[in-house]
């Protein structure tokens, strides 16, 4: 599938979808009826970014299993690329989440389930990168990273569940998003954004993978020449 759609086409496709999504969000979808009003618009980016981040980590999870079964470095590269991108998207989630929070509720930070889950997710996958940097030998590094990527991904839904359903204080304060049902115009705008974000992820994965592979080959050559 990836061979069918070239990288530049992916970026263009992603760009079109994202801009379209933006236009739809602001011009087509109605202003949110609930108290959040105009600031709710950020939802059209915030949620797709969040879901795309999770997709990236999910791919890293699959790549980790792939590496453990085959010992093929290409899985390790895929895992690394996906974790880095997922981390980038997660940071964006937090930033957009904080902006939304400020606009909607007047606070920059609230210890509510989604923000805190993504905060922990950031720490988790930063730990992945730290782990990688602490192992010099390549095969071992890839193996440990794979084990950690598997454990980490399992922990993400568990963490979300814990922050959402196990009340922290004994009197939980739950901040809900807008209504669960979405009007069709909102839905379309949302889906377009979602598609755009996913295409962007795929495009970035392809580009980063190519860079990683190139870097590995250069290192191999250097090593061969050097000794």
């Amino acid at each position: 599938m990836k061979q069918l759609v070239s990288a530049p086409a992916l970026f263009v496709g992603a760009g079109i979808c994202l801009i379209a999504g933006l236009l739809l969000a602001f011009l087509y979808a109605p202003v949110d009826a609930s108290s959040m009003g105009f600031s709710q618009k950020i939802f059209f980016y915030h949620v797709p970014i969040a879901e795309t981040a999770l997709v990236a980590f999910g791919i890293a999870f699959v790549a980790a299993i792939g590496y453990l079964r085959t010992q093929n470095p290409k899985w390790d590269r895929l895992g690394l690329v996906c974790v880095r991108l997922g981390l980038l998207f997660s940071l964006l989630v937090m930033v957009t989440g904080m902006i939304w929070g400020k606009a909607a509720w007047g606070v920059w930070w609230a210890w509510e389930p989604r923000l805190t889950t993504f905060l922990l997710v950031c720490f988790l996958y930063i730990a992945y990168l730290v782990l990688r940097s602490a192992v010099e030998e390549e095969q071992r590094r890839a193996t440990y990273a794979a084990v950690f990527a598997i454990i980490a991904f399992i922990d993400v839904p568990i963490t979300f569940f814990a922050t959402r359903f196990l009340p922290e204080g004994l009197h939980p304060v739950v901040i809900t998003a807008g209504g669960t049902g979405m009007e069709s115009s909102m839905l379309i705008s949302f889906l377009v954004s979602m598609l755009g974000m996913t295409l962007l992820l795929v495009a970035l994965i392809r580009r980063d993978l190519a860079v990683e592979e190139l870097q590995d080959r250069v290192a191999d050559l250097k090593h061969t020449i050097g000794g």
Binding site: L68, L120, F123, L124, A127, V130, L131, A134, V135, E136, R140, T143, Y144, A146, V147, F148, I150, I151, A152, I154, D155, I158, T159, F161, A162, T163, F165, L166, P167, E168, G169, L170
Partner: protein, 227 residues
Amino acid sequence: MGLRQFMAILRKDLIRELRTREMLISMILFVLLAMVIFHYAFTVKEGAELTYFTGGMLWVTFIFAMLLGLNRSFAQEKDERCLDGLLLCPVDRVIIFLAKTAGNLIFLLIIQVVAVPVFTLFFVERSYVGDLLPFLVVLLLADVGICALGTLLATISMNTRSRDLLLPIIFLPLIVPVLIAATGATTLIFAEGAGFGGLLARVLFLLGFDAVFIVAAYGTYDFAIGE
């Protein structure tokens, strides 16, 4: 055969620790000191009430004490090259994991036997004898989660360059769900008292966490410990 090997590893670790008492003494002292430090850290305001901090203080202390202990228990295997001797044996790697986890669990329980009464003396106003059984159930379940995850991660971190420094970074983000559930339940018991009903969600959560991560460790331990 597996059971004989499990008992052999467990017995070896227990004999070694009870003979030298290195880990136990350090961990117990650390835990007691931490409690004293918590008092000075939190009672800035005259007559400040710490009741709703108790669960948190207790579990933070145990988790950090465990970090010390885990580093120690694997450092020994590594330093004397005994890990090679262990890996030469015709033993299923998972049995090594289970035995090491059991050993760490026993050490943690020993420390808690000392620490909990002292903590109660220092910080808990209410008598929770009526809730003792639920308290112990929560304690045990959280301990299992901490030890299982800790043993898996310590196996990885002991083979890296930064050893002691790495373990907290990869361990703490993953253990947050346990922290949430355990502190919630413990604080509830210390502050207000609750039968099983009030704690059911958290107890089930801990049970689920333990089950999931023991299975995950079962699948990945081979890779974590091998070369």
